[in-house]
Amino acid sequence: MIRKTLIAAATLATLANGAFAQDKLRIGVEGAYPPFSFKQADGSLAGFDIDIAMALCAEMKRDCELVEQDWDGMIPALKAKKFDAIVASMSITEERKRQIDFSAKYYKTPARVVAKKDSGLEGTATGLAGKRLGVQRGSTHQCYAEKMFPEAEIVLYGTQEEVFSDLALGRIDAQLSDSLISQESFLSKPEGADFAFLAGDHTDVDCYGEGVGIAVRQGEEELRDAFSAAITAIRDNGTYKTVNDKYFPFDIYGGRPDGM
């Protein structure tokens, strides 16, 4: 019985691999999540996810076709073989892992501490000891702040906007949140002009998860590993940096996959 199952599985695997080797690789993308993926006026797709997908295809020497898919049908379409992989800023979560497999992360916007430019603070446990550090209540950042900065006085807020406005008013010394959000909604605005990131990316897996990966169907280890290897390769050869710098003022990869 077991042997029969094994033979059947092997046959299926051969069939699947046969198709895998010759066919175009179809990649599911979104198109309504700027700057990661968005539509230009002529209907063509652009954005970080799109460029990364194309860079990975070039690295794997595969012929790729982008398939636009509404977010709600993304995972069902992958499972129904409408396409072979998803490159659409999909966070790697335990719940999704029960249905699909993920490559290594291809980005994970790090959390960073923001403080006044001339504060002289350091974004470390000792550097923030006794200082008032603002975070959003119930967020991944609260989890991390309590873990990493136990001696800081942690001030909780209902929304991230309140954290920013109290930082601007000087009611807190620093705040911890997603670097991309800090950049887009605070540092690049007039009220954030006197503020800057403290050194250090925070990407703790326990609090922040594993980041954003490329999804493939379960059992397609070969494709999954090819993506993971290609991500490492474009990190090393500078392609990733070129794409990254086109959209973001800092590296959104967020450090090595094992955490810090």
Partner: protein
């Protein structure tokens, strides 16, 4: 406004898809509705049971669930058959056909009831009179049943059609780029969601207004014999 002009080809492409899906599915649902109404009123017990099961099932399940079930479930089933028989590895189910067919099947159930009610509204005596003077079945249908059925069915038909037109927005979930999908994508991409949603609103309003005009013309035509002077 400039953004709308910049993205006009997107809005236009979306509008064309929406209208195509709506008309194709209308064709399916009217055909299914006529067959369903015939089955429900027929003397054949199996036909009645089948039609009853169809309308009960389809009208009892949310549209979105059915669309995902037919499209993704259908594809998974196809893949499984292909894998089991070794005949194919992957057969593409056309999104347009799947979308139009599924919406057609859903609204066919509503049209079944609309047509059934319309046929029941025709006085029984007229049909008996037709039979008694020796009209054949097709002639009876053409001269007596059809013209009156259409007249009775038109208000319900208009209702169904307007709902059907708007239900086509659900096809974006299976990857079709209809008006709502394109407007949403353009709105998110340009950070002007409200502008594009407002544009979609106006376009839908235009489509329903046009439909209204058409329906009123049809109603006039099929009421000729009974209009008051």
């Amino acid at each position: 406004m400039d953004l709308l002009i910049e993205y006009r080809s997107q809005l236009w492409a979306g509008l064309v898809t929406t209208v195509q899906i709506a008309l194709a599915s209308l064709f399916f649902s009217v055909a299914l509705g006529l067959i369903g109404a015939w089955a429900k009123l027929s003397a054949n017990r199996t036909a009645r049971a089948l039609a009853g099961a169809y309308t009960t099932l389809v009208r009892g399940v949310p549209d979105l669930v059915l669309i995902m079930l037919v499209f993704f479930g259908g594809q998974v089933t196809l893949n499984a058959i292909g894998a089991a028989t070794g005949l194919w590895d992957y057969l593409e189910v056309s999104q347009f056909a799947a979308g139009a067919l599924t919406i057609g099947v859903i609204f066919g159930a509503y049209f079944t009831e609309t047509f059934r009610g319309a046929i029941l509204a025709i006085p029984r005596g007229q049909i008996e009179a037709g039979i008694s003077i020796g009209m054949s079945r097709p002639l009876l249908f053409r001269r007596i049943v059809w013209p009156q059925m259409v007249r009775y069915a038109l208000p319900g038909f208009g209702n169904n059609w307007l709902v059907q037109l708007k239900t086509t927005a659900l096809v974006s979930v299976i990857g079709l780029q209809d008006l709502v999908y394109n407007a949403f994508a353009a709105g998110r991409s340009t950070d002007a969601l409200f502008t594009f949603m407002a544009a979609a609103f106006v376009i839908y309003l235009g489509l329903t207004a046009l439909s209204d005009l058409g329906l009123r013309a049809l109603e006039r035509r099929y009421s000729r014999g009974v209009q008051r002077a």
